[in-house]
Symmetry: C2
Subunit: 421 residues, 2 copies
């Protein structure tokens, strides 16, 4: 590690740690005032932020970035207003910090329970989407954490302006300004330094595509909360209600295509094959390309189906494409999910209590559903109020991550003079 | 990484992952039967195990290991019986897997909640203490995980015998034998391979001294649940009950010396200094060496106190030694704890509601106590039934780690046909 990189990381890390120590104790109303003040500043400084964004956009044009990347990078009045509204929404959420649960008396006479506390210092690594700068800062601040932000280098001017604004909001509210810091260098070695800053950083959250996430996971010695693929399955059991099965399958695939909780593979018990008769034409009519196992292709030879290959079971299409397979049993469906799934979200449609219970217990995904569309796997639908991401990891937090996922619990003991004997 | 090391690790990892998949679904009574059967086998194979241990002990003699290390390594009838009883106790604990909590109806009509599930594959790295082999295997098995064990090389023969016995118990109970695997190689490169086996291992738990733990934490790309120092503090507030303060301080320091939840530094508000008049002679009489701040040394010049130096505040004595400092306020006490503490366990003695509340909320340690001895920071005292270690980390689990700490939660969604609109 170059000397200057190490020095920069140490400075940022120490400042974050000392800010985090102060943030633990900050009362809810003061955090909320800071968030509301940040919203006001965003509206007030709208022009200055668009100016900074203009520098990024010009550089993006010069570099010939794709239209999709430029669309993510671009800020306008409406998008800045949306960020301000987002800050106000986070201010309105319940504060998880300090909540006490499970306080019980033990035979020794002490009361033992848990208190929810901030994680400490969170490192966010994300692509060139300036809105993430505000969004992540708001959630980390509300949950009492300090955050170190590292956005994509193409958004450096926008991020600088937004991070300075958050710091001003913190200062004006008499909160530690280093609770929000941006790594203000496009040197990629800083990412490596952040990923090994175990002395300062409690968790790294990457937000972006697979290559970013994999690099972070492979290099980081700091714990990572990450989201990889969303290869979600719906299994239509032999005891499924036919109408419900068709509804759920259609919604899980066609409600939105580019989202991680969309269905990518439909598994159908061969005794429930009749549901394909209404379902396949509906999918095709919506323009969904269907890759089906040989038995289905044979049975519906009149339809323009494509024969599914092994690779289809492993593919997150994120598009109007769907693979469908017939299975002999719920066990075979679960085996398929265990082999090809990504542990994101799976749903069973069945009216059988025993089969539903088995599926719910045995399938090892961050969300397991029974008679509901996979599209419900979402922080807002689950009542989290906000979502910093969806974890496909196992440790600490799985599935949609809200404010609670940015906190941890300490033990508290209330006594009246008890000693160990 | 040498080819053979990589191959060995891949084999072990794949076997563990496939065992973990089966373990998720195993009912409680079958896990309990396997544990009880393992206890029976331990008693039955007592001689064979002592013979294997004899090989380790002979090698330890030849290598000239210290008496303390040899004592940890040595197995006899009583110790093997204690392991068997431990297995039976774990069998008697409640099974956390499958427990559903917080199931609520959402406006969409779906019910959303959590189900507790195993972590998956746990890597245990520990010193040459053969009892950990049984203890860790039992807790991992009960919580539905697969475990990969890597004990100290001096205990390789004992560990082999014990791991084979656990595998036999699993086979005999029709459970996957690879739910318990021992890295049967003393090649240290295997530890490095385990620490980077992100594809197979969900969490690494090191159990041993500081150098082992630090090596693991610095090298591991797999998340680590670890225990570093226990520099525990008791703070006697100005509003403390004098008798309670003396009792708690004596118990926290002198109940046992070599344990991580013993008090290492006593902080006393200067208005509560009078408690030192009875306390100091009691400590000295017990043979406790006292390092005190200058104001205390001056006030008790007649007592054989030693002047505390900066280094004392950072020291985990694990011995009949104690540092004592006068402070001006609870804030100064908390600042001292934040600067010098290890985030393990701190206790305040006070009758002031406001001061106690402030301490409880603000101190960032895995256990924070009010009017109780730090010695209560223990899985059994907290009602966990068993303890695989005490975490001084922040993510996932803090403080004593029991069966719950070896599990995680997935989301479950119960619907009646709901789709997203």
């Amino acid at each position: 590690m170059e000397h200057s990189v190490a020095t920069m990381m140490n400075n940022i890390g120490q400042q974050a740690k000392s800010a985090a120590k102060r943030m633990v104790m900050v009362a809810s109303d003061r955090k909320n005032l800071a968030l509301q003040h940040a919203a006001a500043l965003l509206r007030q400084e709208c022009d200055a932020i668009m100016q900074a964004n203009g520098l990024d956009m010009a550089a993006a044009d010069a570099k010939g970035l794709s239209e999709a990347l430029k669309d993510r990078l671009m800020l306008n009045g409406a998008r800045i207003e949306a960020m301000a509204v987002g800050l106000e929404q986070v201010a309105g959420l319940a504060d998880p910090v300090g909540a006490i649960s499970d306080l019980v008396y033990r035979p020794s006479g002490i009361q033992v329970g848990h208190m929810r506390v901030p994680l400490g210092v969170i490192g966010m690594i994300y692509e060139s989407r300036p809105n993430v700068t505000i969004d992540a800062a708001a959630l980390c601040l509300k949950s009492g954490n300090a955050v170190i932000l590292r956005g994509g280098s193409e958004s450096i001017h926008s991020n600088r302006a937004l991070a300075l604004l958050m710091q001003q909001a913190l200062r004006d509210s008499d909160l530690p300004e280093h609770a929000v810091q941006l790594i203000d260098s496009i040197d990629r070695a800083m990412v490596g330094a952040l990923l090994r800053a175990n002395a300062y950083v409690d968790v790294i959250i990457p937000r972006g595509g697979r290559s970013l996430t994999e690099r972070v996971a492979n290099e980081s010695t700091v714990p990572v909360i990450k989201h990889l693929d969303g290869i979600c399955h719906v299994y239509i059991d032999k005891d499924a209600d036919e109408k419900m099965a068709v509804n759920i399958a259609m919604n899980a695939k066609t409600h939105r295509y580019g989202v991680c909780n969309a269905m990518e593979t439909l598994l159908v018990h061969h005794d429930a094959m009749a549901i394909l008769t209404p379902l396949l034409p509906m999918l095709l009519e919506k323009g969904v390309k269907v890759m089906a196992s040989a038995d289905i292709c044979a049975a519906y030879a009149e339809l323009p189906l494509q024969l599914a290959v092994e690779e289809d079971w492993r593919t997150e299409y994120l598009a109007p494409e769907l693979s469908i397979r017939l299975v002999d049993s719920v066990e075979m469906a679960m085996e398929h999910i265990a082999t090809y799934g990504s542990g994101h979200t799976e749903s069973i449609v069945t009216d059988s209590y025993a089969t539903g219970q088995l599926f719910l217990r045995s399938v090892d995904s961050s969300s397991v559903m029974w008679n509901a569309s996979t599209r419900f796997a979402d922080g807002f639908e689950y009542g989290l109020g906000a979502e910093i991401g969806i974890s496909t990891d196992r440790l600490h937090v799985r599935g949609p991550v809200g404010l609670d996922g940015l906190t941890t619990q300490k033990w508290i003991v209330l006594g009246s003079g008890q000693v160990r004997s």
